[in-house]
């Protein structure tokens, strides 16, 4: 092989490794972190044995093992970059071995690019990539056996066990063997028929044992059907290379520019179609909320300026943590109730259910927090989530349910990256009053009891505030709940009843809302003064009403000056559903 070609191969390999690392590090870090958060990899024999209950146990175990490193900053991009490069080398070696193609290293980019694009989805697991790598390894082993009988026996054995080991990636194996035989002009229809039927019959026969539907059996261990594109594109690429080989041999220069161009087009299209850059922003807000960085959440929310209920949800949590909810609520997009809380129901996405516990934990409704954390765990793609287990441990510590807290903490103690956290929390004596955060959370918990329907956020908040008016976060959520629903009577009643802490200084949004209420009630100056509403807000309100009192054509001037006031929201905002 000419030296310049070797150089190009090295440049491609390094380029692939670097570009994939940089892409996932710079453009997709929160997706990868989130993937770790929705799995729980335990170092126990029982956990390992649990993989045998479904097909593709080896691929799934390796995939999940590697996914745990997504917890580390840069860990996800590094693992993915390594896997994609390894995949590219393996595919190139096999293409070269089977087709004797000098451009095998370019052809190999197509399946690898497919995997890259697929990894843009939250539901495309490393188990699929691991499965492909494993089956390619088995394939190389199989086609390296030159003895006809041994090759037959070896291929049959692999076909027999392949699905058990790697799941749906097994479908690559017969294609690899058949195309290799065709390329070598070794036609053995019995062997082909046997290995193909063994591999394709496995999901049909074994799905009853594994208790999977037909569709699931053909994609397992993948979660979503589009993951099957990886083995499919691999086979199609191999076939295309086989068919086009004579053509590119005849016009070698054509392959030199056509294949890279096709690949770049293919990647561009794939990323455009499959990348969730808005979702990445949501996950950034989610992760920074999880890390306890409200400043960063607000900074990101301002930069992103998303019109999205999840963005509002995390922004409001950050505002509430900083005590700024009644000051800056309307500085951000507010879709109504569902920007304050996320309902837990079968109609919601699993991500939404996973996010939903955060606000309940914040305001101190430990029962609803536990409800949504448990469902978040159960609804996550593999029914186990390290983040939800951490939250459940916290909830049970707050509730002083030590045995339940210990259960969760001891699970986390068997992980690689949550171990330290678990050890720290295991050292906490639930009865120790010196643990500040525990005491603060416990003060929020109501002592009396009543019941309410699921997702009844208002009742939950009313009870929390009713029993502990010093629970300022719950109070702000309750008042903002009424304001966003334009229920000014309930707002005023609750403010009058529980809002004593705001008598010295009425926050901006509450002051604006109170003026609307008082105005509609024809309240006198004495009453208005009793609320201590700043004069500049009163002046602004006068200007606003004057402007609104004029003709509608002047309304276009309103957003610029009053777009972030409650008056504008009250008059013009449409409350959105889910």
């Amino acid at each position: 092989m000419p030296a310049y070609k070797n150089r190009w191969i090295a440049v491609t390999g390094i380029g692939l490794a670097l570009s994939s690392f940089l892409f996932f590090f710079l453009a997709y870090p929160y997706h990868l972190f989130f993937k770790e958060q929705v799995q729980l990899f335990l170092y126990t024999s029982g956990y390992f044995l649990s993989y045998f209950s479904k097909p593709g146990w080896l691929a799934a175990y390796i995939g999940d093992f590697l996914t745990q490193f997504f917890y580390l900053k840069g860990g996800g991009p590094l693992v993915l970059s390594f896997l994609l490069t390894l995949e590219w080398i393996s595919v190139a070696v096999i293409f070269k071995k089977i087709l004797k193609l000098s451009s095998a290293w370019v052809w190999a980019l197509f399946p690898v690019g497919t995997d890259w694009v697929l990894h843009l989805s939250l539901l495309h697991d490393l188990s699929v990539s691991a499965g492909l790598l494993l089956v390619l390894g088995l394939g190389v082993g199989s086609i390296s056996v030159k003895n006809r009988i041994l090759s037959f026996v070896f291929a049959t054995l692999i076909s027999f066990t392949c699905y058990w080991l790697v799941g749906s990636a097994a479908f690559v194996f017969p294609a690899l063997v058949i195309i290799n035989d065709i390329s070598d002009k070794k036609y053995s229809f019995i062997k082909w028929g046997l290995i193909a039927s063994l591999v394709f019959a496995a999901p049909i026969v074994l799905r009853k044992y594994y208790l999977l539907s037909t569709g699931q059996a053909f994609i397992y261990p993948a979660v979503e059907p589009q993951s099957i594109l990886l083995p499919a594109v691999w086979v199609v690429t191999l076939l295309a290379a086989l068919i086009l080989k004579p053509f590119f041999n005849k016009f070698p220069k054509l392959s030199g520019w056509f294949l890279p161009t096709a690949f770049i087009f293919f990647m561009g299209l794939g990323i455009r179609l499959n990348a969730g850059f808005d979702q990445e922003k949501i996950l950034a807000l989610d992760s920074e909320t999880y890390f306890g960085n409200p400043d960063k959440v607000l900074d990101l929310a301002q930069r992103y300026n998303l019109k999205n209920r999840f963005a509002s949800y995390f922004t409001n949590i950050a505002l509430a943590r900083q005590g700024l909810l009644p000051e800056k609520l309307l500085d951000f997009y507010q879709p109504g109730l569902y920007g304050l809380m996320l309902p837990v129901s079968p109609e919601e996405s699993w991500e939404s259910i996973l996010f939903s516990n955060e606000v309940y934990f914040l305001v101190g409704d430990m029962n609803l927090a536990q409800h949504s954390a448990m469902l978040g765990n159960t609804f996550s793609p593999h029914n186990r989530s390290s983040r939800m287990i951490r939250r459940l441990a916290e909830i049970n510590l707050v509730n002083a349910d030590s045995a339940a807290a210990r259960k969760y903490l001891r699970m986390l103690d068997k992980t690689l990256f949550h171990k330290k956290w678990a050890e720290k929390y295991l050292r906490i004596n639930p009865l120790d009053s010196s643990v500040v955060w525990l005491n603060m959370k416990r003060e929020q918990i109501p002592v009396g009891d009543t019941i309410y329907f699921p997702n009844d956020f208002e009742t939950s908040l009313r009870i929390l505030v009713g029993q502990n008016p010093r629970n300022r976060v719950a109070l702000d959520y309750l008042l903002c709940f009424y304001l966003l629903n334009k229920d000014l009577d309930s707002f005023k009643n609750s403010f009058d009843r529980y809002g004593g802490i705001y008598r010295q200084h009425v926050p901006k949004v509450y002051a604006e809302a109170m003026l609307v209420t008082l105005f509609s009630q024809n309240a006198g100056p004495e009453t208005i003064r009793s609320y201590g509403i700043p004069t500049n807000i009163q002046d602004d309100f006068a200007s606003y009403t004057e402007l609104v009192a004029r003709k509608p054509e002047n309304f276009s001037a309103l957003p610029e000056r009053f777009g972030k006031t409650y008056w504008f929201y009250f008059h013009f905002a449409k409350i959105r559903g889910k």
């Binding site: 335990l42 024999s45 208790l211 765990n377």
Partner: protein, 487 residues
């Protein structure tokens, strides 16, 4: 099965490389060890799987000497917990039937071995059924993602799935029920977009669409008539609500409920005015072992959920004629829980007809989130009722089921962590006194700690359940047979 084989292989491999150390105790304690699971002084059947256990607390190694009748001895030494060889264990139990095992446990601490006082495990010569069937589900919430119904051979650690909802995505599988522990007669519900009641009777499997114009819902809580010709079901308009107090968490209550009897041959629900009263919540029906009485829970209807704490169920009975399928007109109250400010749930008559075991709670019938829930035993002959203190704990004891010979009962309890229900099994002697219950043994004692699912509705079965999943899938593609209604 494969799990068990792998597990045994790994144990065998470990035992080959491990070297037992002679235990010379530096300290001999007078007290018995605190084990997990707590097997100190329990009564077990002679066919139970090995009682693998660990001692609570830190140690470097554990040693156990198990001595039975006829000089049968097992010596185990390990790092984490006591793994008992299943073959030797089976031999030990078989030889020691009707007697006790003497178990001496020592743990190795930094400064040497500490030996605890020996304790006994009583080996009953009264047999127990082949296995248990239960549902594994995340604790008690209204939406579902992953769940399944599993069977467990009690003489080994083998758990096999009967049905998982991965097979019917988005569905909820619940309320499995067997006639007298017979796996050939089975009923279970599948809820979801595609749903219905699966009824398996001596070789045939049907899917029933159980909502009728005259009943308020699909069939819910089931119980088989001993003849196999009928089933009793409740029909319930159920809601889930949340408590604000941290101790109770979730409540499930009926805004309305009735009881019907389903005639299997005629595919008809039999309704009766006495079991379908608007002013009464009737639920959780069961038949007496002679098939001539229908027990159920009944409470005065209240406005739900406002008056949920005032809903108190009594244990009631109405006569049933199996020859004609006729329900009597008079309701007897067998246990007046209202009089003591309590409420009855899950009445379960023993197959020999001597007792009715039920759960007693402060209000309602959703006992699983009630910490005060305890098991009670009603002597049918004398009418005396007592708490089963030998089995109860300060945490929830809820669903329970009898073995087919009435001498063992399995019940779900939250005594381990207060959150996840686990199956406990207890012996009942001829005088109605229960032995100390034991937790269903697992190969690894830490199994329960790492399991994020509750054991729901544990039921005994006399043989393995054989439910053809292809048949279930085929049936789920059909609308199911509509159930009729007669009065």
């Amino acid at each position: 099965m494969r799990k068990a084989v792998l597990y045994l292989l790994s144990i065998a491999l470990l035992s080959m490389v491990a070297c037992n150390e002679t235990v010379v105790p530096k300290t001999v304690r007078k007290e018995k060890p605190v084990l997990f699971p707590d097997y100190v002084g329990v009564t077990v059947p002679a066919t139970i799987a090995p009682l693998n256990f660990k001692v609570q607390g830190e140690y470097q190694a554990i040693d156990a000497l198990l001595e039975g009748k006829n000089n049968q001895i097992i010596h185990v030494q390990d790092k984490d917990f006591v793994h008992i060889d299943p073959v030797k264990w089976a031999r030990l139990l078989n030889e020691s039937k009707g007697d006790s095992l003497r178990i001496t446990v020592s743990v190795k601490q930094a400064d040497g071995w500490v030996q605890f006082a020996p304790f006994a495990v009583h080996v009953s010569d009264v047999p127990i059924d082949y296995g248990l069937v239960y549902r594994l589900i995340a604790p008690g919430y209204e939406v579902y993602s992953k769940m399944g119904i599993y069977q467990r051979d009690m003489s080994s650690f083998t758990q096999t799935p009967i049905l998982e909802n991965t097979l019917i995505p988005g569905s909820c599988i619940n309320c499995h029920s067997f006639r007298l522990a017979n796996p050939d007669d089975m009923s279970l519900h599948i809820r979801g977009q595609k749903g219905g009641t699966i009824l398996k009777t001596s070789g045939t499997v049907k899917l029933l669409n159980t909502k009728t114009k005259q009943t308020i819902s699909n069939f819910v809580y089931p119980f088989w008539h001993p003849s196999g010709k009928y089933m009793a079901y409740s029909v319930n308009n159920t809601h889930q609500v949340f408590h604000e107090a941290k101790g109770e968490r979730v409540e499930v209550g009926d805004a309305a409920s009735d009881v019907i009897v389903y005639d299997i041959a005629k595919n008809e629900a039999i309704g009766s005015p006495v079991l379908m009263q608007d002013s009464v919540f009737e639920t959780l029906p069961t038949f007496s072992p002679d098939g001539r009485s229908l027990y159920f829970c009944a409470a005065k209807a209240k406005k739900m959920p406002v008056e949920y704490k005032e809903v108190k169920y009594n244990l009631c009975r109405v006569l049933f004629d199996p020859e004609t399928g006729t329900i009597g007109n008079t309701i007897d109250t067998l246990f007046n829980a209202t009089a003591i400010g309590k409420s009855v749930a899950f009445p379960r008559p023993s197959p020999d007809g001597k007792y009715i075991m039920f759960t007693l709670i402060d209000y309602g019938n959703f006992s699983i989130w009630h910490k005060e829930a305890d098991l009670y035993l009603l002597d049918v002959r004398t009418g005396e009722c007592r708490p089963v203190s030998e089995a109860n704990s300060d945490q929830t004891e809820s669903y329970h089921s009898w073995s087919s010979n009435s001498r063992w009962f399995v019940f779900s309890s939250r005594r381990i962590d207060g959150l996840y229900t686990r199956p406990f099994i207890a012996f009942l002697d001829e005088n109605g006194k229960a032995g100390k219950p034991f937790l269903l043994p697992q190969a690894d004692p830490d199994y329960y700690e790492r399991l994020l699912f509750s054991f729901n509705v544990p039921e005994f079965v006399s043989a393995p359940v054989d439910l053809n999943t292809s048949t279930i899938e085929r049936l789920m593609a059909t609308p199911g047979e509509n159930v009729g209604f007669r009065k």
